[in-house]
Point group: C2
DNA sequence: TAGTTATTAGAAACCGATTTCCAAAAGGAT
DNA sequence: ATCCTTTTGGAAATCGGTTTCTAATAACTA
């Protein structure tokens, strides 16, 4: 195991001062001639600067912190969030940044998000999953740390998310085109802003189109998964004499429960009731009936967030926070049926 | 924004030397009285040691590197691997370690896994997804860095994986109990050791039980997903006059394709042919027919890997590498039918 | 009580860069 | 050729800890 090379070794070998090496490596003021000489030597010998030493003295770390709260019981397993993170990761790594999960504990002692970032001289932060009301998150967003979010929206942070309104609009219009007249919705828990937006959008669009929307056609599920969808659907339908002929659902995960819930009451999907989801996760294509849904563009979300954050770090534009909306697509499958009327 | 506190500030405030503070914080030789005094003060003022400074001088970093190759096109989206990682993460964080993805690029320059680890003074590495033949991986495993793997097996590394043999045994026995006589298998790509083990186990078990296993009942799928399963099933069945009455499949993902492939040929699952998968991902429960499969215990895998790695780091036992097998479970659903004979 | 040993606290070197400030060299203008 | 700018390379300070070595103190032994 050969001894580790330091910047001093390089300097000695090249008959230069360490400071000159550092400059050559970091676009400092050096002649292009010496710069080339240094770069050459470095490439040949495979010298690489010690990260910790650099971070100690410099004010940056080439590291991006990831907030991925597990309190909401959404871990890396979640197909949507993990995919967004994956795409973000791939993008920023191309630019030389690496990812580190922000932890609330450092070695022995507890730490706030902000303290962790400062301590590590984090260049920027992406909030993939986070509670918008968490004190730690708020403190972080309001700090000097550059942040971007693919989840929470807030006046103090750049956010990159799906155009939920467009998604609902697409759904409603498609349902109308296919001859549905009594639309309802099983919304997701309103603690999540995405679900809130979808519900609000649905209300607005129905109003704009002058379509009736009885409150009994609306229900909010208790949780994020199959079971809550199942229960919500049964509850919604159970009390109704005139059933809706189509249901928009907050997410695909919930949709699966909704569909089975509908079936458990003796109705068929899509023959009696059409269902349209939101997300397009991998199960959706495989489910029976294959789920008609709104596909979120996870790649675009991840990459756009990456681009914005890097711009922010390099101080290129994006002066004040704004919301970026990524278009969604309607994916037509079998859970919506064309109706004659 | 209050100024950052250094160890010198703490020393001054307590009228002690910086070195004493450091010792108090790191179980060095200090009287319990001063130690208490320091700890108290630190807790009260919220001082936290600068990570980069510590890493620079010390030989550890409280950081664990994650190898999660994307070359195999398995990203964080993959339900099995991401879940293992999630469970590992939760476990090691309890012990104060944090996770950092190992990148092949550091700031500007390319780096081998090993150089990256040395540069960052990584305490240990978990290989969640990695190519066992990759030069960089081999170099890493053979180095002084403590490693654990939940994927590749090798004499030089501790591995924690599902007991694939037991899984196949469970499948075969269940199929036998339910009256099946002509078992076949759609194995996954043999580039993955898990798939290889499953195929080998199947061959062995059939031989041990003295059951016939015609080579035509065996096929290896081209890829990891639905389409390759679909094609493999059609290819297998297409050429056979006497069809198998049950098929073991390398993974759930492939199983879905296999089932639809069988159906596309006019046969029914499970009435004509039973299918049993391996993994138990979330789609399996929702699929029609709900997939009977072998559940991998991702929690146990992640946690056991975490435990072993931390033991390794603390130099507690695990002198030489060994393979740890985590038991699996049979999950009975609807894709296997009881047959009278 | 004197002498020896075990603990505890501090001084100083060191980890490996970055950065500021300065002097020397190079380039331009007259 | 001389004087003034602009570039370029180097010396030294600094970032914030850990660790080794030494001195002082406390504890123990006879």
């Amino acid at each position: 195991m050969k001894k580790k090379k330091t910047i001093y070794d390089v300097a000695k070998a090249l008959n230069l001062a360490p400071s000159t090496i550092s400059k050559a490596l970091n676009n400092g003021a050096v002649s292009s001639k010496t710069k080339a000489r240094v770069l050459d030597y470095v490439k040949k010998t495979g010298y690489v600067t010690a990260t910790s030493a650099r971070i100690l003295k410099a004010k940056y770390s080439w590291t991006i912190g990831v907030v991925f709260s597990e309190e909401l019981n959404i871990g890396l397993e979640h197909p949507f969030f993990s995919s967004v993170l994956q795409n973000f990761k791939t993008y920023v790594e191309k630019w030389g940044y690496e990812l580190s999960f922000i932890v609330q504990q450092l070695g022995q002692n507890k730490l706030s998000y902000l303290d962790w970032c400062r301590n590590k001289k984090i260049d920027g932060v992406i909030i993939v999953v986070g509670d918008a009301n968490d004190r730690g998150i708020i403190e972080l967003i309001e700090s000097e740390i550059k942040c971007v979010s693919t989840d929470i929206v807030n006046d103090n942070i750049h956010s990159v998310r799906s155009d939920n309104r467009q998604g609902i609009e697409l759904s409603v219009e498609y349902l109308l085109e296919t001859g549905h007249g009594r639309l309802g919705m099983v919304a997701g828990p309103q603690t999540s802003s995405a679900f809130t937006e979808r519900l609000i959008a649905f209300r607005e669009i129905m109003k704009e189109k002058n379509l009736p929307l009885p409150e009994e056609y609306l229900i909010v599920s208790e949780g994020f998964g199959y079971t809550s969808g199942f229960n919500a659907a049964r509850k919604l339908l159970g009390s109704l004499t005139v059933k809706p002929d189509a249901l928009l659902v907050g997410s695909d995960d919930i949709s699966f429960g909704v569909i089975r819930g509908i079936e458990s009451l003796g109705f068929r999907v899509p023959e009696d009731i059409s269902v349209i989801g939101f997300d397009d996760i991998s199960t959706s294509r495989l489910f029976t009936p294959a789920l008609t849904t709104i596909r979120q563009n996870k790649k675009a979300i991840g990459e756009t967030a990456g681009k914005i954050l890097i711009d922010l770090i390099r101080e290129k534009g994006h002066k004040h926070p704004r919301e970026t909306k990524i278009p969604v697509n309607l994916i037509v499958r079998d859970s919506v049926k064309m109706r004659k009327n």
